[in-house]
């Protein structure tokens, strides 16, 4: 065996550097491309309305939890489906003691 390699391995073991299996390296190498692919998926999914729908769902749930909406199905009656508008509307409705939907 190569002398330098034997010495390197021996001193590496003394130094505490642990052996790493191949999949460890492969995993780290793949981390970059996977992260980029996920970002692309997210970016590509935004125009299709997925983000808007998710936001809508959360808002309806929030409204239900606040007691401002019965089932969330009447969202068309909301003045706006945008989060800040709903929050503002909910505040006004609470102050007036009314339900917004």
């Amino acid at each position: 065996m190569n002398t330098d390699r034997a010495l390197r391995r021996y001193y590496g073991a003394l130094k505490g550097s642990t052996r790493r299996p191949v999949w460890h390296t492969v995993g780290w190498v793949l981390t970059g491309p996977v992260a980029v692919a996920l970002m692309l998926l997210v970016v590509a999914g935004l125009p299709s309305g997925a983000g808007v729908r998710a936001g809508d769902f959360l808002l309806r749930k929030q409204a239900q939890m606040l007691g401002l909406a019965s089932d969330g199905k009447d969202r068309d009656r909301l003045p706006s489906r945008k989060p800040f508008a709903l929050r503002g509307c909910a505040r006004v409705a609470c102050a007036d003691g009314r339900k917004i939907v």
């Binding site: 034997a6 010495l7 391995r9 021996y10 130094k15 505490g16």
Partner: protein, 156 residues
């Protein structure tokens, strides 16, 4: 640790140095002596000496290295190669590690020391010269001789 966590005192500093440097001192001693017991003894002695004279030491790491080398050399050759189990577990092949340790144990202390400083600790020529207290020009030639001596034992 003092009562006020943001106020550090001398004891904290010494403890921090001991904690950080202990593994370094131990592995250097192990590389020179090839014996776990001898390396433990050297480490203990180095750390005790450091605690006693810590206020006078500006560069603890270099100081400990010099003392560890001197003490490890004084302890001489171990009767047999004795590597701790964690080192064997970390090496790709325990048999190979023992063979390398055996070959290293059969070369001179000077050669073993300079190989450990250069290949394990990754020191520069200047740092090696300071640690061994030799001229910087001698480091390269001594390292070359050490590798040659090891290769001769390893290949035989």
């Amino acid at each position: 640790m003092s009562f006020w966590p943001f106020v550090r005192n001398r004891t904290d500093d010494v403890e921090a140095v001991l904690k950080e440097e202990r593994p370094r001192v131990y592995r250097l001693a192990l590389a020179i002596t090839s014996s776990h017991d001898a390396a433990e003894d050297v480490t203990q002695e180095v750390l005790c000496r450091y605690v006693l004279s810590a206020p006078e030491i500006d560069a603890p790491r270099a100081w400990m290295r010099r003392v560890a080398i001197r003490l490890a050399r004084e302890s001489g050759h171990a009767s047999e190669v004795q590597l701790p189990s964690d080192v064997l577990q970390r090496s790709l092949s325990p048999d190979e590690a023992m063979a390398v340790a055996g070959a290293l144990a059969s070369i001179s202390l000077e050669h073993r020391t300079i190989l450990a400083l250069a290949l394990m600790e990754g020191l520069s020529y200047r740092e090696i010269a300071e640690a061994l207290q030799i001229p910087m020009g001698s480091v390269a030639s001594r390292l070359h001789e050490a590798k040659k001596a090891f290769r001769k034992r390893w290949e035989s």
